[in-house]
Structures are given as C-alpha cells and as structure tokens.
Amino acid sequence: MPRRGGPPEVNAGSMADIAFLLLIFFLVTTTIETDAGLDRMLPPMEPPDENVVIKQKNIFTVNINKNGQLLVEEELLDLKGLRKAAMDFLDNGGDGTCNYCKGARDESSSDNPTKAIISLKNDRETKYSTYITVQNELVGAYNELRNRESQRLFNRNFTEMEAEYLNPETPSSVRDELKDKVKQIQDLFPQKLSEAQTSTN
C-alpha cells in the first residue's frame, strides 16, 4: 500500500535520555582546575662570576623555625606583622637616592629598593603551609608597594595590569603597551627574594 502524508516522524523522545547520559558523564568527570599559585624563580646553579659585596643593612633576613616561628632581623616577629616590616624595609630609601619612596629614610635600613634583598631561610621541618604563608606575605609586600606606584603613575593597580598582560586572550596591541608599564613598575621595586639552602638543625 502506498504511504500517505510523507515519511513517518522519527520519535525523538529518547534524545533527552541520551543527552542526559552524556551530561552526567561530563558532570562526574569534571574537576574545576585550581591552577593558580605563587610564581617564583629559583636561583641558577652556577654561582655569579664576580663576588658582589652586599651591605648587611640591605639584607632583610627572615628565618622560619620548625615550629613556624619567625625570626626577622634577629627579632621574634608575629606572622601578621611581616608584611608591614617587609614594606618598611623595602620602602625605606636610606641613602636618599630613591625619590618615590615614602619610608622612614632610616640610615640603618635599606639604601634603595633596587638594592634591598629579602633573604628567606627555613628549617627542614618547617611546615609547607607556614612557608607558603610567609612567601605570600613577602610577595604581598612587593605587590602593595608596586600597586602604590602604579596607582600614582598609571591610575591602576599593578597586579591587575600584570594579570591582563599575562592573559593570552588580551590583544597584542594592548599587551605591548602594558609590557612597558609592567616593566617600569617592576624596575622600581624589583623582587629580590633569595632563598638560601635550608639549615639542617
């Protein structure tokens, strides 16, 4: 018998079931990635060629013991005060050559932000979480100072500019412009964070 009224309709009722099946599969396998963290550079293996003499007053020593206590510049310090202490040290500008520093200009503290070095030492038994907190505070001190200068020069935060600069979706024309600004701020407060070998006792 000839068919009438065109081809019969395909029953699409089970399409939802199939889609649900796929949906549940992807729901289960999804892990929202937590790929963000503190960027650090390790010092290269070869020692520097010339013997650079660094004045003791330009070094800000931070020691973490195995109980998570901090010894900053030979004094016991609470973790909450570390960011402030590091900022005071970096922003000091002791020899008067730094015209953007707003610090105390203390003779016995760092000469210039470009000369100031933070030296971090930890015990082998220091807990990783404590170490990360200390790192976070030190990076935070740099970021806060950089943000301050960035606000003064470009009216926006350094962290925001850097994030935009590093984002691969930013168009390259914007990136080139940001590159110089980021570089300029980084030069004002270069991150000099040295990590010596861990002590064994």
Partner: protein, 160 residues
Amino acid sequence: MAKFNKKKDGDLPAVSTASLPDIVFMLLFFFMTVTVMKDSSLMVENILPNASEIKKLEKKDRVIYIYVGKPTSQYQKVFGSEPKIQLNDKFANVSEVGDYILQERAKKPQELQNVLTTALKVDKNANMGLISDIKQQLREVNALKINYTTFEGDAFRNLQ
C-alpha cells in the same frame, strides 16, 4: 455547519517536552567545554594551602606537575604515611625528579622547552625538607620557573 470539535472535558493538555533535549544539550555543552580530563589519578593527599597574592597559570601545555603529600589510605600500608612525591602515576624518590623533568621537557615541542613552568602541588602538611630537595633537583636540571600551586584565600588560615 459547525466544524469546531467539542473539547473533551477532564483531560489535561500534555506538557510539551520537545525543548527538553535543547536544555539538556545546553548544559551538556557547558560541561564539555569546561571539562579538563585528568591525566593522572592522585595517589597522595593533596589539600593545597591558601594564598592571596596568586597568579593564574595560563597555558596548560607549558606546565609540568609534581605532586607531594601523604599517600592516601589505600597506599599507606605499602608506602607508609610519610609525605612522598608523585610523578605521573607512580611514587618516586627525590633523585628521580630531575630525570622526570628532563623527560617531560623532551616531550614538549621545541619552542616551548625554554618556557616551561613546574607546578608544585604540595599538601599543606608536608615538610619543607622534601620541598627543598625537590627545588635543589630542579635547579640542577635548570627548571627554574616554579609555581607553588595554592587555593585562593586568606593565607593566615593555613596556620590553624
């Protein structure tokens, strides 16, 4: 002549489910796009610490992962409860880290080999001794760019 059919009373009109597949497909596509397939299953406890000054790790193809933490309960009988290093799908010693990095680096395309980042995913209860050893290994193979992967949050919560 009246052509109107008289409505049958008492019958509820059926709710049309024709758009249900569309809705489900929309959700499906969302999850398909955000899904990242895990390349290795975790054999160590991996609760990352919190930090607030974090930077996003862009470009997943330029990252090498190293996991550190206590073996999970099913492996504790064999491997003990001291923090261990996991590379890909197996436990490793500190001395193997350097080789692993070199191996992974060789797998990447030439132009990426100099811009690789090593992401350290370390459990917050691990000790720094092990991390220092890993860092020493990384320095030896000249993999100097590292990233301590953390959750975003208040760093002082780590101390509790």
